[in-house]
Amino acid sequence: MERIIFYIISILMIVFAVMSVSNRNIMRSIIYLLFVLIGIAGLYFMVQFYFLGAVQLTVYAGGIIVLYVNSIMLVEKINNPLDVTKFWKRLLAGAIATTGAGLTLVAIWSHNFKEATVSKEIGINEIGKAFLSYGDKGYILPFEVISILLLAAMVGAIVIAKTNKVKESN
């Protein structure tokens, strides 16, 4: 049962990913991207990483996608179809991507992964402790750095996007 669900999710994700990078309407592109992200969240749920799945849904599906939609609405007319790259270039990019995927898949499939037999669910409290402890297996420093980064990104985004008053007065 789970296997069937996994295959369905996987195939949908791949299809939506392809449509997301090839659709000429940017709005639709974003919606397809949203589907891919939701699919990934679904995979997280299937491997019992519930917290992560929730974060994926809220931050990505809820936050970032909305950000995209807003910025597109700010800058472009939604109905304008996107330009298409030259055919030979798409062919080249496709060939490169296929080659890369082939290489990576050969590497993956020829490698013997020692899969663990036990399965353990990682709870939210475990993750929270890991974030807030400073000893071995403690990640407080990266956590703080990420917080500062987010703050800086927020300030930076405001500063960058802010209209230059002087310029306008000119």
Binding site: S10, L52, G94, K120
Partner: protein, 105 residues
């Protein structure tokens, strides 16, 4: 752990999504669309972290933690990139990569 599904299959899916992201990054002609391809790449990487954590080292929590970090950084990156793009749009009134090639020879 998904019963009946080996790590190979999940890694195959993430690999395919990763290279679809690369294809999109190279072929898209709109800055925002390019950024969306980057999201695909990031997500497949985060998925790999989680899957490897789950299948190979079930005792550890690092996969989850790094995925969260990736999501946070991706959010910050997206916010900044979009800010830059909007600013750029104000300057040149376009987001077409063909018209943004001042780095050219």
């Amino acid at each position: 752990m998904i019963s009946g599904v080996s790590i190979y299959e999940i890694l195959t899916v993430s690999t395919i999504i990763f290279f679809i992201g690369i294809y999109g990054f190279v072929t898209r002609k709109n800055l925002i669309a390019m950024l969306m391809s980057v999201e695909l790449i990031l997500n497949s990487a985060a998925l790999n972290f989680v899957i490897i954590n789950k299948y190979l080292f079930p005792e550890a929590v690092e996969g989850a933690i790094f995925s969260i970090f990736i999501i946070a950084v991706a959010a910050a990156e997206t916010a900044l990139a979009l800010a830059i793009i909007i600013n750029l749009y104000r300057l040149v009134m376009s987001l077409k990569t063909d018209e943004l090639e001042t780095m050219k020879f």
